[in-house]
């Protein structure tokens, strides 16, 4: 009787050993694509550090309802207490005017800022993911006078790409990857440094970065570019 009980326990443990990897892989697929839409507010002129933050309002249920933020390193900018000086500094040092397209483009990355901008998405139950990003903002010279008029600062387009670092939590633990995003920035009163409304779309391509052998297999591939 005792012998039979031991056999049952052994079989139970064996089943547990066999099934546990299956369950783990079911929870963590090798690749995961996540698309969503977001909106939020921010003000780079009167707030330091500039933080744009909001909520994910549509798209993949994995992130629907999550909070998001991006943060830009402003350590080299004039203080937020002087928004005019801050704007002038940004416009004079970051904005590149392109006459043929009647536009100005500003790039926020690790070359224009002291450090690369960072982002985070936090879902109350599914977990958190974060990483770095590049943000590209374009203003249009609607009246083609080569001057960025105050009215032309009411609407700007932005786009960018992001890196998903493998420091996520919850469902996103162990994932890393790439993403891209785009949308618009709307400012109802740029002359008085009003908060900016941002809306946009984002697409994330995630993969399981927890597998230790993955790194060694990547390095074994013949390199293309040094």
């Amino acid at each position: 009787m005792i012998m039979k009980g031991n056999i049952v326990i052994a079989l139970f443990l064996l089943a547990g050993v066999v099934l546990s990897p299956v369950c783990a892989s079911a929870q963590l697929p090798e690749a995961l694509s996540v698309q969503f839409e977001f909106e939020g507010m921010g003000n780079a002129m009167i707030n330091s550090l500039p933080v744009y933050a909001g909520a994910i309002i549509a798209g993949d249920p994995l992130v629907l309802g999550a909070d998001w933020w991006i943060r830009i390193d402003d350590s080299t900018w004039p203080p937020a207490s002087n928004p005019q000086a801050r704007w002038d500094y940004l416009f004079n040092n970051f904005a590149v005017h392109d006459a043929p397209s009647f536009s100005w483009t500003i790039v926020f990355d690790e070359q224009s800022c002291a450090t690369k901008p960072v982002w985070e998405i936090h879902h109350a139950t599914n977990g958190m993911m974060s990483g770095t990003l590049v943000v590209v903002v374009t203003f249009t010279d609607w009246n083609q006078n080569c001057i960025l008029d105050i009215e032309e600062r009411m609407l700007a387009m932005y786009s960018g790409n992001l890196i998903v670092m493998k420091y996520g939590t919850g469902i996103f633990a162990g994932y890393c990857g790439l993403g891209s995003f785009n949308g618009s920035i709307q400012n109802s009163d740029p002359a008085n440094w009003a908060d900016e409304y941002v809306e946009g779309s984002c697409f994330l391509n995630l993969q399981n970065c927890q597998v230790g052998t993955r790194e060694s297999s990547w390095t074994a591939i013949k390199s293309m570019y040094r």
Binding site: E37, T105, S159, N161, S180, W218
Partner: protein, 234 residues
């Protein structure tokens, strides 16, 4: 008294005309998703395909890069000279720990080089076109060794800002100009030909945007007309 009355009438007329001219401007927000193919090996490198969703569906598109100065690949050498040039000229490496990657800017910032061009053609006969003020392509250095492996290059992300010119507008966009943005992925689908797939998601949730207007598209518009419009796209 008469002079004051005339002055008042004149100011009133100006205000009425100003409001009328502002309200006469039509604003349109277009959404789109794309799927197409192309290659940086082609001359010029052009990615073309179909709308898969959104307000411009059905229709076709193309986005073309300026390849002036790009060398051709020498089939007699093991390396790809053309792709080597593209990586070296447009991309830079970011060594941020945990986020190691290459970011490529088309055109490079402040270079003055020509921008990529784009055109949209709807099946209904409407056309849109212009340039991309910047297209950004990012490649993940997954093993953080600062060497771009073929498998890393094969799975990229892409995004860009767009300007739409009135002279490329046709059909219902005949008098329109505007601005927009898009984002998606750019993945190698044929390693032999280096053909790549441009995907801007998605049919059910189109992520591309164009904000169009049919006023102020030519030189000489009163910039103050924009000032009276409040939060036009909320």
């Amino acid at each position: 008294m008469n002079r004051k009355l005339l002055l008042g009438i004149a100011v009133l007329c100006i205000l009425v005309f100003a409001v009328a001219s502002v309200s006469a401007i039509t604003f349109r927000t277009e959404r789109f998703s794309l799927n197409g193919t192309g290659s940086f090996m082609a001359h010029p490198p052009t990615f073309a395909g179909q709308f898969t969703g959104g307000t411009l569906f059905p229709g076709t598109f193309w986005i073309s890069f300026d390849d002036a100065g790009w060398p051709a690949d020498d089939s007699g050498t093991p390396q790809n000279e053309r792709l080597d040039y593209v990586i070296a000229h447009y991309f830079h490496y970011d060594a941020t720990v945990g986020g190691e990657s290459w970011d490529g800017y088309f055109p490079p910032s402040a270079s003055g080089e020509p921008m990529p061009m784009w055109r949209f053609y709807t099946a209904a006969g409407d056309t849109l076109g212009g340039s991309c003020t910047q297209i950004t392509i990012t490649i993940n250095d997954l093993n953080a060794n600062a060497i771009m492996e073929a498998s890393e290059y094969a799975a990229k992300v892409i995004s860009g800002n767009m300007v739409a010119y009135i002279n490329y507008g046709g059909g219902c966009f005949r008098n329109f100009c505007g601005t927009g943005s898009f984002s998606g992925t750019l993945n190698v689908v044929n390693a032999q030909t280096m053909e790549e797939e441009l995907y801007v998601p998605s049919p059910s949730l189109p992520s591309g945007r164009l904000y169009m207007k049919d006023g102020g598209c030519t030189v000489g518009v009163e910039s103050s007309s924009w000032g009276t419009i409040k939060s036009i796209y909320r």
